[in-house]
């Protein structure tokens, strides 16, 4: 049984999601219990996989073989579908599992029955399955399939509130851009398949020679994944999407964006190795800086709390890109500062998931109690909702990178790593953080401070529990960062930095 856990982590939410509307026909409580059970199971699976990978190394799982470790078909060719979970994949799986465990209990209470709760839960589980599929697969075509699964589920969730005008519009824009992104990704896969006759990532990584077609495919991969990861200037869909999706499901959308970034790292570090020149790394760095600054400026002028947090979330993508981009630029010489920045970028993925997740839950709680997210109508909620105010304050300060919270721990690594490459990079990143501090001070003041406001609805206990889990998480990550850096982040960063040979050897032998 335990040998099949990687595939169960994907298959159970995929099939379990479709069972949700059927169970809802029998009893609503049964449906809710089932959804929770599926998410708990997925959480246990990704935890098990992570512990296994971090302690024993890479985990390869082959479908359709007599034995799950039989990677090569007769003839020595890796033709079967396979999952290859290294440190980075396991890390991504942990982020997805953690946010799902927090988001689903919140969603069960947050989503009104009359607004199609069953379908929202189904879409959430499908999105989770797609994210884990993207993280664990070792096959480019399957990566595309899961990319499409996430795109369809995410777009349906964004346009979920069909009775509003903005949600379907946001879903339409996102769907169009996701389709463009998906088409380019598929085209790149087709180019590589045409040239090498294979779809297996490790096999292609071994065979790539840097030909014109290889580089053309790399360009298409880059453009497609940068767009899906919401890097500026192709981030425009993200604030609309994050702002319109039901708050509880915004957490999964954050992971969906991160897993696209994961795909980008997988293509650049594992598939192409060093087959690109430093210009590609510099492009990632430049777009990272642009993303953090543009999003921070745009957050400064938002009046909708949801959109403000959405821009804050987009700006954090920039920090991840800066950290990993510095790692990419310095990959050829592998200086120590490159690994430090890379660790910072990877660590920031976990911190961003917790921090932005908590902010979206706070936005959901505010919307639940007041029925609006408009900062012009909000104010004084801190008197009636002190727990939500505290969580929002903590998350806002963490997002701005203030010590001793988790955002600072990862940003200090990014700052110090990027400083060695160029102090200008660090200066811009610090400037964006200062802007974000201003943004969240303004949002906190607007929503929670001021004369006491009426709070028509109490915040349910499960909301507070979900928020408390994330708040404690970001405090612990900030206070004992070394523990997580060594135990979880370093294996993930090392999988990108030096793990390519191990990845190839695990699949192809030798």
């Amino acid at each position: 049984m335990s040998a099949h856990i990687p595939i169960l982590a994907i298959a159970v939410p995929l099939l379990g999601g479709f069972a949700v509307p059927l169970l809802a026909k029998l009893h609503k409580g049964l449906r809710d219990a089932w959804a929770l059970l599926v998410v708990l199971f997925v959480g246990a699976c990704v935890g098990y996989v992570a512990v296994h990978v971090f302690t024993q190394g890479l985990w390869v799982y082959v479908l359709g073989a007599r034995h799950p470790q039989e990677t090569l078909a007769p003839g020595g060719f890796p033709i079967r579908i396979m999952l290859v979970v290294d440190g980075m994949s396991a890390f991504m799986g942990v982020i997805a599992g953690l946010l799902a465990l927090v988001a689903f209990p919140f969603a069960l209470r947050f989503l009104p029955e009359e607004e199609g709760k069953s379908l929202a839960l189904t879409l959430g589980l499908l999105l989770l399955a797609g994210i884990l599929g993207m993280a664990y697969t070792g096959d480019l075509f399957n990566f595309f399939v899961f990319l499409e699964v996430t795109s369809i589920a995410a777009c349906a969730l964004i346009g979920f509130r069909t009775w509003t005008s903005r949600a379907p519009e946001a879903a339409f824009k996102t769907m169009l851009l996701y389709s463009l992104s998906g088409l380019l990704f598929l085209l790149a896969v087709a180019f590589l398949y045409g040239e090498y006759g294979a779809l297996n990532l490790a096999y292609l990584a071994r065979e790539l020679r840097g030909t014109f077609v290889d580089r053309l495919a790399l360009g298409l991969f880059l453009a497609a994944l940068l767009m899906k990861a919401a890097a500026a200037p192709v981030h425009f869909w993200a604030p609309d999407a994050y702002g319109e999706v039901p708050a509880a499901k915004a957490l999964l959308l954050v992971v969906n964006t991160q897993v696209s970034l994961y795909g980008l790292w997988r293509v650049l570090f594992t598939l192409y190795g060093g087959l690109w020149d430093a210009g590609v790394g510099w492009l990632v760095v430049a777009l990272g800086l642009l993303t953090m600054v543009v999003a921070a400026f745009m957050a400064l002028v938002q009046t909708d709390l949801g959109r403000l947090v959405a821009y804050g979330a987009v700006s954090q993508i920039g920090y991840m890109m800066l950290g990993v981009g510095v790692g990419l630029v310095s990959l050829a010489g592998r200086p120590e500062y490159g690994l430090v920045a890379l660790k910072g970028g990877v660590f920031h993925m976990l911190n961003d998931a917790l921090t932005v997740g908590l902010l979206f839950l706070c936005v959901g709680a505010v919307e639940w109690t007041k029925g609006t997210r408009d900062l012009r109508e909000l104010g004084g909620l801190g008197h009636g909702l002190p727990e939500v105010a505290l969580c929002f304050l903590l998350a806002g300060l963490a997002l701005a990178g203030l010590p001793p919270l988790n955002g600072f721990a990862s940003k200090i690594l990014i700052y110090q790593g990027s400083f060695r490459l160029s102090p200008i990079l660090t200066a811009v990143a610090v400037l964006a953080s200062i802007l974000l501090l201003a943004v969240f001070a303004r949002a906190f003041q607007g929503a929670f401070l001021g004369p006491k406001a009426e709070v028509p609805n109490r915040v349910p206990g499960v909301f507070l529990l979900s928020m408390a889990v994330l708040a404690v998480g970001l405090l612990v990550l900030g206070l004992v960062p070394g523990f997580f850096l060594e135990g979880v982040v370093t294996p993930a960063a090392e999988a990108l930095w030096r793990g390519r040979a191990l990845y190839l050897a695990a699949v192809l032998g030798g």
């Binding site: 580089r215 790399l218 360009g219 425009f236 400064l300 104010g379 949002a443 001021g450 004369p451």
Partner: protein
């Protein structure tokens, strides 16, 4: 234990506990100064009202949109340009995608 609490950055280290100790010491110092301060202040009296040119303000609350007015006014040209990029028109967004695709292809092919 030390490795658990400390983050080594390659050029130095960061320890949240040392920071917390320093923050506590600063708070204690601030508390000491406050304790030695003037004692005429009384809660719930007119002393708590904001002083607005000697006028009694009916609604003295400062709204969220009033914050950073100077900063946003100074940055207005930049912010207006950024707003115009976020036009909400899908054709513009697809256009930006084509621009990025062009830049990326130029970078990897040339």
């Amino acid at each position: 234990m030390k490795e658990t609490l400390t983050l080594t950055t390659g050029q130095g280290f960061w320890s949240a506990l040392i920071w917390a100790a320093a923050a506590l010491a600063t708070l204690l110092l601030a508390g000491l100064l406050w304790w030695r301060g003037r004692r005429e202040y009384k809660r719930g009296t007119e002393q708590e009202l904001p002083f607005l040119s000697g006028e009694r303000a009916e609604n003295p609350g400062v709204g969220a949109l009033h914050l950073y007015w100077g900063l946003t006014e100074a940055l207005r040209p930049v912010l207006e340009r950024l707003r115009s990029w976020h036009s909400g028109v899908i054709n513009d967004y697809a256009g930006w995608f084509v621009v990025i695709l062009g830049i990326v292809l130029l970078l990897v092919l040339v």
